[in-house]
């Protein structure tokens, strides 16, 4: 199952500078574990110790933020596109 994954600038150190890579998996969790086998270190930037998506990244399945789907357990299908972006946030607090 081929899924296109779009990589933000800050994580391209794990993909030899590539903007998009391919991966596979029936869920987002499986996809990130698959990416880790070829791009060591990338998973830790996306998922915290408890296995949930980090607050600092936004992950989209096609056009939908996966937080509004099933988060890390969101199911994926062949031909889907996953986009990872750093959240743009901050503030005085």
């Amino acid at each position: 199952m081929a899924i296109e994954v779009r990589i933000p600038t800050i994580l391209r150190t794990y993909t030899d500078g590539r903007k998009a890579v391919e991966g596979s998996g029936a869920t987002l969790d499986e996809l990130f574990k698959d990416l880790e086998t070829r791009h060591a270190g990338i998973r830790e930037r996306l998922v915290d110790e408890s296995g949930e998506l980090r607050r600092f990244v936004n992950v989209y399945l096609n056009d939908e933020d996966v937080r509004f789907l099933a988060g890390i357990t969101t199911e994926l299908g062949d031909g889907d596109s996953v986009t990872i972006l750093p959240a743009v946030a901050g503030g005085m607090a």
Binding site: F56, L85, A89, G90, M92
Partner: protein
């Protein structure tokens, strides 16, 4: 160093002032690799808060797709602090995900017609803050 036009500088300050007491945020996009801010893109603060800002996630995807299509980068990422100085907070640093961007902070803390607005620019790379000079020009 950040080099920016007076017109863009004024628009950032005007946005920060308009949204006060909430934090204002946005991007100035520019051609990839140019380090030249050109296209002013004010964003909605989805948090609508005086102490926090966050780009709405749908707007964020739309913005990055648009920049990708136009071969642009977020040259400047700006936001305001409404009660404190224009210096990156711990929260700002933990979220800073664009090592190539100039993080511009505007303080509206004394925004009741008192002194000038603080407008400062920083690089935030791997948790480290480096302040840089801001040069305001009439045109590039």
């Amino acid at each position: 160093m950040l080099t920016i036009t007076q017109a863009l500088y004024d628009r950032i300050v005007a946005h920060a002032r308009a949204d006060h007491p909430d934090e204002a945020c946005g991007v100035v996009a520019g051609p990839a690799g140019s380090d030249r801010p050109e296209r002013f893109v004010p964003m909605l603060n989805a948090a609508r808060s005086p102490t926090f800002y966050e780009f709405d996630s749908t707007d964020l995807l739309k913005l990055y797709r648009e920049m990708d299509d136009r071969d642009e980068e977020p040259v400047v990422i700006y936001h305001s602090h409404t009660a404190t100085e224009a210096y990156p907070s711990r929260t700002d640093v933990s979220y800073a995900g664009e090592p190539g961007a100039h993080y511009v902070l505007v303080s509206t803390a004394d925004g009741d017609g008192a002194g000038p607005f603080q407008f400062r620019s920083f690089r935030i790379v791997e948790g480290e803050i480096t302040e840089e000079d801001v040069t305001v020009v009439e045109a590039y």
